[in-house]
């Protein structure tokens, strides 16, 4: 068929364009941006993050999706670097169809993205545990993990009151995560009337930890609180520490009990304790998540997967409650989430955007992670 009239042709084009845009706006997918490390030292954790998020998205889609639309995760690689994270976020932010994002688990990268997030003005679920992130006037960050004031309070509470140890050393990475963890732990210890005998920083990707291990040994500390960012660093440190005969007690940040850290450090980490936001024995929801994750990916989940899983669920719940993709409406709906039982714990969002307010304590019992207790704070 040939179309002669210019008017008819124009009308056809208009109809097609209209149909196209209708298709686009009423499309049956709802895109969620995900910033995750797929290369660089954190690539391993990125795989867990993406798998956790996908598991949640699949569940939500099977249950009918969000506002009747199927979730689609758009993943950008942050290369485990700050510039990479900024680039990844700005790529995603450029897509007008994305109403909300899953951000990084690394505080330093969330800090790097924060100015762009503020400019974009859309909700970003984060896993970085630097308390500052939700206390610096950026109202678009929502944390799906307990922040480090809680990990520090739980570390010091457990070490001082349960283990009855009072001579503390703090070992920390000098990045944002490690430095802030150190500050919070020092503060929490101070409230218990304790001044650490050693505060020792190190830079990420150090090849040798002998000077750090010797400093711990010389300090005579009987317990050590650690904030270490990467598992290989933790593994090298743990091995060298034990080789030098240091038998100090150890209560570490969540990195201490990731699957990779356990495998790399082996016996060097036996007997250590760690605070961890995700533990499969801490609640029925955690157990159910772990079972589903194992069924889907044939490997055990850890914190890198559980927070992303919860983040997607909380976001979906909030968007459904808001009945809108308006960023402000989603924000209000996230802050209104109370009593949602996720894999990491029960979410009660406060006005700062913090969803969780406590930690589990676990013990490394000859390479097996054993749930010890959950410590929650009301404030």
């Amino acid at each position: 068929m040939r179309i002669h009239s210019r008017g008819v042709r124009a009308a056809l084009v208009a109809v097609l364009v209209a149909a196209g845009s209708m298709l686009a706006s009423a499309a049956d997918v709802l895109k969620i941006g995900v910033v995750a490390p797929q290369t660089g030292p954190g690539a391993e954790s990125g795989r867990f993050q993406v798998q956790g998020a996908k598991l949640a998205a699949d569940e939500i889609n099977k249950a009918g999706g969000v506002l009747g639309r199927q979730l689609e995760l758009v993943i950008e690689d942050d290369q485990t670097t700050n510039p990479g994270a900024v680039l990844a976020f700005s790529k995603l932010a450029g897509d007008k169809d994305i109403p909300a994002f899953i951000g990084s688990i690394r505080s330093t990268q969330v800090h790097a993205m924060a100015p762009d997030i503020l400019k974009t003005g859309k909700p970003v679920m984060i896993g970085g545990t630097d308390p500052q992130l939700t206390h610096m006037g950026n109202s678009w960050l929502f944390r799906c993990r307990p922040n480090d004031t809680y990990s520090a309070r739980v570390i010091s509470d457990f070490g001082v009151n349960t283990l009855k140890l009072r001579k503390w050393a703090i070992v920390h990475s000098t990045d944002a995560f490690g430095t802030n963890g150190m500050k919070n732990l020092a503060e929490a210890l101070k409230k218990q009337g304790i001044d650490p005998v050693l505060v020792q920083g190190y830079t990420n990707n150090s090849q040798d930890f002998t000077p750090v291990a010797l400093a711990v040994k010389q300090s005579g500390a009987d317990v050590m609180g650690t904030y270490m960012t990467f598992e290989p660093d933790q593994g090298i440190f743990a091995k060298q520490l034990r080789q030098l005969g240091v038998k100090t007690g150890w209560v570490g940040s969540p990195t201490t009990v990731t699957t990779t850290a356990l495998k790399l450090a082996g016996p060097a980490l036996y007997g250590s304790y760690a605070v961890v936001d995700f533990n499969r024995d801490s609640s029925p929801e955690a157990k159910a998540f772990a079972a589903k994750y194992e069924a889907a990916y044939k490997s055990a989940p850890d914190i890198f997967a559980s927070w992303a899983y919860d983040a997607v669920h909380v976001l979906a719940l909030a968007i459904n409650n808001a009945k809108s993709l308006d960023p402000k409406a989603i924000r209000e709906a996230i802050l209104a989430v109370k009593g949602y039982k996720g894999a990491e714990g029960t979410y009660n969002f406060d006005q700062n955007g913090d969803g969780l307010h406590g930690y589990n304590i676990v013990k490394n019992d000859e390479g097996k992670i054993v749930f010890d207790k959950h410590i929650d704070f009301p404030d």
Binding site: G40, A43, Y202, Q207, A215, G235, L264
Partner: protein, 291 residues
């Protein structure tokens, strides 16, 4: 005193790692006048080959090492053919960019093929080491220092006392003159790449039990090894050894007695100092022979 001895031992151990990788830098630099920025990735490849062979497939450690060394030789030859040979008549810049590209390709290739999870490789010995007084001797570090000394010795004998070694030296000093003398220059350069890849692979096998096996393990060592080469002098294999050991000791002592977070800064401060005061490095380059 005990602490200083412990630091000295560790510093020398770490320094030997740098020296092993730096040696590869220096050899290729002498043969081709370019720095091979994929040298650290040779170590990464060697370590991953060991994990695949000895952990995943489960063949004995010794056989794994033999296969890995052969595989590294093949990789060195392919590297020469693919990365250096097509650009051999160009200036040094395209070749350097080419090696950087190869480095990115290798790291991400392994990442894609093997996944991002860091792996551990057990050491060659059952025991982790032993203590003498206050000093703990890590068996793997001892092995690294031992293999390092052995390799440096063999290399010295090879370059100074064999015809092939002398041909390779002649090639590195003046390619035109060497080819006029009937030395097959392309073959000599090929051999240099093969040897450097094997050397890198051995470094990887040796450091894997200490640093673990991850895609980025090579580049983090290579940066220090590169600094070590400059400090020691790019033109001389002794430079790589002395530069590497010096760097390892300086940064370990600096970290222990001044500041741990500034550990890397000490290494690069030494580098700055040398660039300012003695840019040709401790041993210098045999410029006069080239002129």
């Amino acid at each position: 005193m005990g602490i200083a001895l412990q630091l000295l031992f560790t510093g020398l151990g770490v320094g030997s790692i740098y020296a092993l990788v730096a040696l590869g830098f220096v050899l290729i630099y002498r043969a081709t006048n370019v720095v091979n920025f994929a040298q650290g990735d040779f170590a990464m490849l060697g370590a991953f080959a060991m994990v695949v062979l000895c952990i995943d497939i489960g063949i004995p450690y010794g056989v794994g090492i033999a296969i890995t060394i052969v595989a590294m030789a093949v990789i060195g030859a392919l590297f020469n053919l693919g990365v250096y040979y097509p650009l051999r008549h160009r200036s040094f810049l395209p070749v350097i960019i080419s090696t950087i590209g190869a480095s990115i390709l290798l790291e991400n290739g392994v990442l894609a093929a093997y996944g991002p999870r860091p792996q551990s490789l057990p050491g060659m010995f059952e025991t982790q080491g032993f203590s003498v007084g206050p000093v703990f001797f890590d068996s793997q570090y001892l092995l690294i220092v031992g293999v390092g000394i052995l390799l440096f010795g063999l290399q010295y004998l090879f370059f100074e006392h064999t015809i092939l070694g002398k041909k390779m030296q002649a090639t590195s000093q003046d390619k035109e003159m060497a080819s006029l003398l009937g030395i097959p220059v392309a073959t000599m350069i090929m051999l240099t790449f093969v040897y450097s890849a094997v050397l890198g692979g051995i470094a990887g096998i040796l450091v894997a039990p200490i640093l673990f096996v991850s895609v980025s393990m090579g580049s983090s060592i290579a940066l220090k090894a590169f600094a070590a080469s400059i400090i020691g002098g790019f033109g001389d294999v002794r430079g790589a050894i002395v530069g590497g050991l010096a760097l390892g000791v300086v940064e370990t002592f600096g970290a222990a007695y001044i500041s741990v977070p500034y550990k890397d800064a000490f290494a690069f401060l030494v580098l700055f100092f040398f660039l300012l005061v003695r840019p040709q490095g401790i041993f210098g380059e045999k410029i006069s022979e080239k002129a």
